[in-house]
Symmetry: C2
Subunit: 495 residues, 2 copies
Amino acid sequence: MNQYIETYKDFRKKLKAYEYVMWLIGWDQETEAPLQSVEYRSKQFQVLAEEAYKYESDPKFVEAIEKLYENLDQLDPDLKVEIKKANKELRIIKKVPKDEYIAYQVLVQSGSHVWVQAKEKDDFEMFAPTLEKIVEFNRKLVKYLETPEMKGYDILLDMYEEGMGIKEYDAFFNTLKDELVPFVLEVTAIKQKFNRRLTKAVYPTDKQREFSHYLMKVFNYDLERGLLKESAHPFTSGVSSTDTRITTHYHEDNFISSIFSTIHEMGHGIYELQNDPKYDDTALHGGTSMGIHESQSRMYENMIGRSLAFWKVHYPKLVELFPKQLKDISVDEFYRFINTAKRSLIRIEADELTYALHVMVRYELEKSLINGRLKVKDLPKKWKTLMGQYVGKRPTTDKEGVLQDIHWSGGMFGYFPTYALGSAYAAQIYHAMNKDFNIEEAILNNDIAKINAWAKEHIHKFAQTKTPKEIMQIATHEDFNPQYYVDYLKNKFKN
Amino acid sequence: MNQYIETYKDFRKKLKAYEYVMWLIGWDQETEAPLQSVEYRSKQFQVLAEEAYKYESDPKFVEAIEKLYENLDQLDPDLKVEIKKANKELRIIKKVPKDEYIAYQVLVQSGSHVWVQAKEKDDFEMFAPTLEKIVEFNRKLVKYLETPEMKGYDILLDMYEEGMGIKEYDAFFNTLKDELVPFVLEVTAIKQKFNRRLTKAVYPTDKQREFSHYLMKVFNYDLERGLLKESAHPFTSGVSSTDTRITTHYHEDNFISSIFSTIHEMGHGIYELQNDPKYDDTALHGGTSMGIHESQSRMYENMIGRSLAFWKVHYPKLVELFPKQLKDISVDEFYRFINTAKRSLIRIEADELTYALHVMVRYELEKSLINGRLKVKDLPKKWKTLMGQYVGKRPTTDKEGVLQDIHWSGGMFGYFPTYALGSAYAAQIYHAMNKDFNIEEAILNNDIAKINAWAKEHIHKFAQTKTPKEIMQIATHEDFNPQYYVDYLKNKFKN
């Protein structure tokens, strides 16, 4: 066994270095690389990707993983999890014809370019042929990967969230359909009014930036192990427990956007920074699933960051930075403003209450696309219908409808549902944490460290060694239950 | 021949990708990487360096270079230059025992750490044993690499500036000794006086930053192919003609530092940005030598950036940004202020007039260290003596003396002289350019583009395809002649 362990670790060490490279190139590209450097960078990236692939698919590495997988019980617990994961990832190399797989990689790389143009021109026809090919491949992919235990869309769902399949998501979304949809339609029927300065005043970037850095301190984001920068779309980019970076964006006509983007990304970032450092050199560093990751960003953003307690403490700082803009606007009005629910068309701009319903639309569509009951050409119409049913608002253009998200153009099917799941996990986790200590009190004492510590102990430190199901058991002592989410939303948004 | 060309190009493509990676990691590290990420990054860096070394020393690659080198006349002119260069670089792999070379790499990596501490504590004894080993290796290195045509310190000098050896540098520095040293001692005997606000006022960073960005526009620095950032020590970091980045630093108590750092680095940057793009994918992108590189940064910084003509145009903008600080200070006084010559101890803070004399001290010491006439333990004393003779000021501490520069701790012997050489090249190049058009007039017309275009045509576009000697011939139609430099300085600094 030992020589296989050694071989595995040798290859892992090399692969970690390539992972680091890809990570850094991506970070640079999204935050500051000069516009015209793209072509030169792509060339180098391709060489490096090929180098990494050579190691990933090296017969010696594959053999080591297979042998170790056959002898899982002889491995220490962490390595056991790692080998299970590695073995699962081998499926692609072993079962999907290499040529088809590479052709698909090329397809999805150009896919997002086609999508950008189609979105700009509001022209679904332009994107449809590409999307058809991508859907086609994914339908083939699930055939290649199917086992007696798992078939179809379940395979894609499981890639992003282990243990969550159609059965589980149907149960989740049916709860939302039954309990949340009617509630949302009721709540959003009334239009709220706010001081015009909240929506119309100019909030200078440098003051917003100052507030974001203030928030970094409030949340104890360790600047010796991370940093805050700017990018078109905010994101978190972590490579180790000593290097996890986040970005935000500043819009002078929408100052709350940077505030909640910064807090959201800090949620992701704190998760990875609080991974046990011993996983840095393994394949287990990072978040265990998209859903758990999103649960942390959503919990920090919505449950802490959009709470009245939080703003009782930090609103004065905001007023100090924007004295004219926020003059005579009470913390209560500000709180109501940042928690306005309304029927809207764009998922990434949706409020906390309606967000999951936007996701539900995509889940239903993906399910039907992969099982073949829905054709790509019928997507735009179906999109509009479902939006009307779930969110109460139908888009008139595809740009604001089916073309709004990048995911499908990159071949990401099965990803969307984790966004809604994350919010629901968050409600359950928050509820459990609140049994251990009074969270509102901690927030009022400006003691976010207490929340970080709890999250580290119950979620973050485990990195990828526990499945989402296991994390929910450790953190909440029960299986996932969407009722917490529905209750939380109803309580927060009841008129 | 063709299969060797193909092999060579295959390897080159891979090596370019690793070069890109090293470049990006270095850039990140120096500009923004979080403090605690150093260890994790070093681990990945080491793996990648090993990967690159594997290709560099691959027998197939070595064979291809050797075969092509034997048939140079069959190659197209650019490839010919490239193969000559590659063959020269093979010397190390072929002649230096691998173990010794790797041990030396480890030594110099830790060398700079030892140096940092020794400098902090002003303790030369602490650094001496390491420096002795480094000198020892370099003396062995030149033995390994010696040929009937080239021996000793010449080999190290030639590594940084092809064609420049002891004979050439002696001639250069003797001219400075004879003509410049007495002039400098005379000029610096008189202390100049300036409005106290020039030295004592606070110049806020954000205004300095605004001015640096203004300068980027003035010099037509293409922000689609580069960017300006901040770092402890300003530097230029280029990887292709589409990606060449520079940094500066802001000191609120020394506002001219950021101005001339920015212009200096732009000189380096414009050189690489104006390389013919066809060299991007070859080993010929970049500056042809340290001296020619420095000639561009010095020409932009000192001859353009510190000219009266330049400030006649741009001083109003500076006053606009610092109205209180620069109130009632005329452009003439400002011009005199930024061109003050004085006897000082620290090379990197030295003015244009005295700078080369600081370098001369180091050249003489290196020469004696490598030929064995000077022992490491006698360095501090000898340093003080030479500083007294050439610059007219003796340091009282080693921190301000022999310990001030990082170079020797990293094994860089032969590098220093190129700094002085660059300034001297610059004077000769400027003189030649001024025959083609009136540079002062171009500066007064705010037409730096004209200067850029000339430099591109006569220097920059050639990248590394011409030797420094060839560049001087192309640009000035004569061999290097230090008299231009002496004349330029005497004319500018005469009282």
